[in-house]
């Protein structure tokens, strides 16, 4: 586990359709200390996914610096695990093989990597589905595999790009509760991208509101853990924080 530091990060695209340069991310600086859960929230087009893609190393920044621990990011790497909105599982591999993929890339032998994979499948409540293929699972179960696959590689930082946006509302709440439970068990450093304000507040220690490529404001979320929806929906603290963040997002 390590900290994540984003310093003066900018990204300018050339938009061929508009025929102009677009500043997707403008001079964003952000610290995620070791073991902290930070949500970035903002409307579509605010640059939140672009930031995550740069941190993951999928696209190069126009300027600025990204540090994992004291190591500068240059391209994708196993120090940063990614959970995708589209799940991005390998459809030709079983659930077990999907989760064992990271350890396999590290050169871990088959019995050991299967042991690791089963451990993380059990953490994600998926032990019964190990031998199945992703297309045989519901969206919620597929994303559990996505989370287990990222965690099984023991990344320094976990990056989550609207991971629960494409599952139904009931499943989403369950997955959010499971994620807070897993986070408490493992104290991962997490950067979580979402456009869903209650989700951002529910999960995070700190919510960063993004607007037009800039950091508008950071809001600390000192809600006690473990967090559960049935308790929090009644909580005035939760409502006040969610309302505060919502006002910021709407002013964005």
């Amino acid at each position: 586990m390590k900290s994540l530091a984003i310093r003066n990060l900018s990204k300018t695209y050339f938009d061929a359709y508009a025929g102009a340069h677009v500043d997707a991310v403008r001079d964003v600086s952000l610290e995620v200390p070791e073991g902290e859960f930070v949500s970035i929230v903002g409307p579509s087009g605010c640059g939140k996914t672009t930031i995550l893609n740069m941190v993951a190393g999928f696209i190069a920044p126009s300027s600025g610096e990204i540090l994992v621990g004291d190591h500068a990011v240059a391209g994708p790497g196993p120090d940063r695990g990614v959970v995708f909105q589209s799940f991005a599982l390998f459809p030709w591999k079983t659930v077990l093989e999907n989760v064992a993929f990271g350890p396999k890339m590290r050169g871990v032998g088959k019995p050991e990597r299967e042991r690791i994979a089963r451990e993380f499948l059990s953490l994600a409540g998926l032990s019964h589905a190990a031998e199945r293929y992703p297309n045989e699972l519901s969206g919620g179960m597929q994303q559990r595999v996505g989370v287990a696959r990222a965690l099984a590689n023991e990344p320094d930082v976990l990056l989550m790009d609207e991971p629960f946006a494409s599952v139904d509302a009931q499943t989403r709440m369950t997955l959010q509760e499971e994620l807070t439970r897993i986070w408490q068990e493992r104290r991962s450093t997490v950067l979580f991208i979402t456009h869903d304000v209650p989700e951002a507040v529910f999960l995070a220690n700190r919510v960063v509101v993004l607007s037009k490529g800039r950091v508008l404001e950071e809001v600390d979320i000192p809600l006690p853990r473990p967090r559960r929806w049935d308790a929090l929906v009644e909580s005035d603290d939760f409502k006040a924080l969610a309302n505060q963040v919502l006002q910021l997002v709407r002013s964005a």
Binding site: A56, P76, P78, V82, A88, F90, W92, F101, M105, R149
Partner: protein, 259 residues
């Protein structure tokens, strides 16, 4: 599909053929057809048994199948790496796609004249025709397969530590496999048709040659027997070998759900 379903499907497929076999001798006798125009079923059966007994059927069949096998394997060996290479480089693939599409619709037998100039009559020219029929379609399908692997899946592999070669072996090839298999099946279908045409023109052994040379002796029963072998052999290869492999990969990969 269970065993009963399979048997039922097989029966449905064979029923019209059985009707044809029954009608055949009746019609031949009813219209008193000259055997030099069209043979009776008994003559065809006799010609078939004769060609099995003297071994000529297996010699022709072996020659044809060997050409198909060699041409196809060579084509896959070259086309798949080329298709993957194109698939990972958008510039190269955009440039080469129109060429591949052009050559993959160009009939295999259109290569015969130039193939016989380059390789002479026989194994080389015909294998070259097969190679072309399979190569362009498989290269194009591999390219298509690689480029349809979602970017996020490749990103996922990279962020889990996959390097250049593991990306190839673990993601690009398996991800493109359903398309590759479809390409091989389609290409082989064209190759088989092209093979018969090429053997009529450019060799002295093979199923195409067998039916063409029989024409010189008005041996319609040999021609018809050869046609039956050519069609049945392809159906067997396609239904028992290629289709199940294609179905298995596509279903396994979950790209088409029990279509």
């Amino acid at each position: 599909m269970g065993w009963t379903g399979r048997i039922l499907a097989g029966a449905k497929f064979l029923a019209p053929l059985a009707v044809l076999l029954v009608l055949w001798p009746i019609l031949i006798r009813a219209f008193n057809v000259n055997p030099q125009i069209f043979p009776d079923i008994t003559a065809v059966a006799r010609a078939g048994l004769e060609s099995i007994r003297d071994g000529s059927l297996f010699a022709h069949m072996g020659a044809s199948l060997a050409r198909v096998a060699v041409g196809t394997v060579l084509a896959i060996l070259v086309a798949v790496p080329l298709g993957v290479l194109m698939g990972v480089s958008p510039g190269v693939s955009a440039f080469l796609t129109p060429l591949l599409r052009f050559f993959s619709v160009l009939a295999g037998i259109a290569w015969i004249p130039i193939a016989t100039l380059w390789f002479g009559y026989g194994f080389g020219a015909i294998t070259f025709v097969i190679f072309n029929a399979v190569f362009f379609i498989v290269a194009y399908n591999t390219l298509l397969g690689v480029s349809t692997i979602p970017m996020q899946v490749r990103n996922a592999a990279a962020s889990l530590g996959a390097g250049r070669w593991t990306m190839l072996a673990e993601v690009l090839l398996p991800g493109a496999l359903p398309n590759i298999v479809t390409g091989v099946r389609t290409g082989l279908g064209f190759a088989w048709r092209g093979l018969i045409a090429a053997e009529i023109i450019a060799t002295n052994i093979g199923l195409g040659y067998m039916i063409f040379v029989a024409r010189d002796f008005y041996r319609t029963e040999v021609i018809v027997f050869g046609m039956i072998v050519i069609g049945a052999l392809w159906l067997l290869i396609d239904r028992l070998l290629l289709a199940p492999v294609e179905r298995a990969t596509i279903e396994r990969w979950g790209m088409v759900r029990s279509a």
